[in-house]
Symmetry: C2
Subunit: 329 residues, 2 copies
DNA sequence: AAGAAGTCGGTAATCGTTTGCCGAGAGGAC
DNA sequence: GTCCTCTCGGCAAACGATTACCGACTTCTT
């Protein structure tokens, strides 16, 4: 495993008997070069196993053909689905997408932003960790490069935003349940996340809007463990029937698992709905009724925003309802 | 959103009335500097909102304090769990961990490796897409920087390896089932993945070793959809009881969902086990019996390997059995 | 035939940072 | 007082690529 000094353009130029300018032009196709000479250069580059140093290129050019994505947590399947779709959206372009996980920490998120900025990325995609406390990181990003917030946003920043209409998503759930079920014998409980992120915030507001201000709310985080605990609390408060509207599919899956384990029936005794629809809803039986976010279209929108020259903008996508086995109908 | 030219060290030096050498030494702490002067420099840097250009630094220094991770697919929860644990393991160090998703494509994987090499990363962590066809990418990586393969490996390369003992993992399942169940009335079927990756390969070999060469095998990919399909095939072949040993928790979850949907009981009629144990096993009811990989320890080992100076090495971690509700006992 | 226009290779400056080396000054030993 | 040893700031040369500019040459125009 001995590693020799990598070949540089100067080495290639020497071997091919030309100047580095010519090598650069051949390899990056910047300007026409005599075919015979070009052939000498490519063969020399191949012989020396030359690979370009992107640091040198990036330093000289102003751009790096790189976009950074900072996300809060890879274990949340919705975020990893977004990451995957975004990666695919960029795989067809000249631009490299690099990911950085903030590990749900504001400090690590800030570090990720600074790291990408230091690397002179052309644009930054951010899923902010916190609705207020990520403001500094988002502002720093937006003041330096084209920045797009994804899924979650920090109000009052200059950065663009791409996300789903949470109000419409909850409305889909509401209409579905009102059409198919009796919400008196199955009283509604919202199992959400504390409104630290704009999506948690907006989903909570939307639930209150469509189901009434007095709707019962249990707030935790976006995890299956919280779904289980919320279901446990509900049962220990005496409920034997009900409707659980969950802020994410992982929460819903946890809740369903606990309800079934406690001997209750889904959807007969308890109806449960999720949110996101990126695949986790199909892991369970019954499969989850959920609100599907059009992640592929969202990823494409991000890709387009990132390469475009326009001003900051915001775009809300329309979710759709996927009816599974955890709700009647 | 007007963006001005970022401040450089020369700007800071001018404002502080010192040379760029002094600025560099103050900001990177390379050498002692007179406290009064240091104070002038830091205040000037703050005033100008100076942020270091890592391209310049990386070009001059030989190292970049960066490690790249190329993984096949973020939607596989095991890979995103590995990514997350690795990110956490590096969050405490000076080194930045950057991720790149190969989108299950050999070409994209190669692109990721080349991209990271061009960025002069200090080390590369690879989860190879394919046991044979990723050989070129792994060899390229290993010939340029310290390289560690994770979870999957390409035989015959110079790169280190960190993974779990698949043979021992399947042995745990075997011993558990033999102790707790009647494998005659519940014949064994292995629901695995085509042996394109070393982990799929090794798990298949291990199943044949512990359960016999003639064990029934259904091979697909690491997805819930495949788990469902495999269960459907098994049922349509007439099976009404059985034991399904699955190569991953997502496969197992899909299989269980289909079996339950078809009206069968788990674990009474069908016993099902998974592999990985990174959280997906708790989304279902019954919760999955699975083989847990010690991902946190594995991530720590990767971190240590990456900073160490030693030769290439291989390390197999020992998995543990997590007994859930899909198997007797 | 002379000038204009186009093609294409090379020279050297440049991107932003780090660091080897020099030298000035301080402090200590004798 | 001399010499030796430290400390610490600055000069300038890298690191590896790109590209503005120059100039030699070819081709076209009139």
């Amino acid at each position: 495993m001995s590693r020799t000094r990598p070949a540089t353009m100067a080495d290639v130029a020497r071997l091919a008997g030309v100047s580095t300018a010519t090598v650069s032009r051949v390899l990056s196709g910047t300007r026409a070069v005599d075919p015979a000479m070009a052939e000498r250069v490519t063969s020399a580059a191949g012989r020396l196993d030359y690979r370009i140093n992107l640091l040198g290129r990036g330093l000289r050019r102003t751009s790096t053909a790189t976009v950074g994505l900072v996300l809060p947590d890879l274990r949340n399947p919705f975020f990893s689905a977004l990451g995957q779709h975004l990666a695919r959206a960029f795989a067809g372009s000249e631009v490299d997408l690099l990911l950085f996980s903030a590990d749900d920490s504001l400090a690590t998120e800030a570090r990720g932003v600074r790291s990408f900025l230091g690397r002179q990325v052309d644009a930054l995609v951010l899923i902010p960790v916190h609705e207020e406390r990520s403001a500094e990181a988002v502002a720093l990003a937006a003041s330096s490069v084209r920045t797009v917030q994804l899924d979650r946003r920090v109000p009052g920043t200059q950065a663009s935003y791409v996300g789903v209409s949470n109000r419409d998503g909850i409305a889909l759930v509401h209409d579905h349940l009102v059409a198919a079920a009796d919400l008196v014998s199955h009283p509604v409980t919202y199992v959400g996340a504390t409104p630290d992120s704009s999506s948690a915030h907006e989903r909570l507001d939307a639930v209150r809007r469509w189901f009434g201000q007095e709707v019962d709310c249990l707030l935790g985080d976006f995890s299956a463990a919280w779904g289980r605990e919320a279901a446990a609390r509900l049962l220990s408060s005496g409920a034997r029937t009900g409707t659980l509207i969950c802020a994410a599919d992982v929460i819903a899956a946890g809740a369903v698992a606990h309800l079934l384990a406690a001997g209750h029936r889904v959807p007969e005794d308890f109806r449960v709905t999720g949110f996101d629809g990126v695949g986790a809803e199909e892991l369970t039986h019954p499969s989850l009724t959920t609100v599907r976010q059009p992640v592929e279209a969202m990823a494409a929108a991000i890709r387009d925003l990132v390469v475009s020259e326009g001003d900051a903008s915001a775009r809300w996508f329309e979710p759709t309802l996927v009816v599974g086995g955890t709700s009647p109908g």
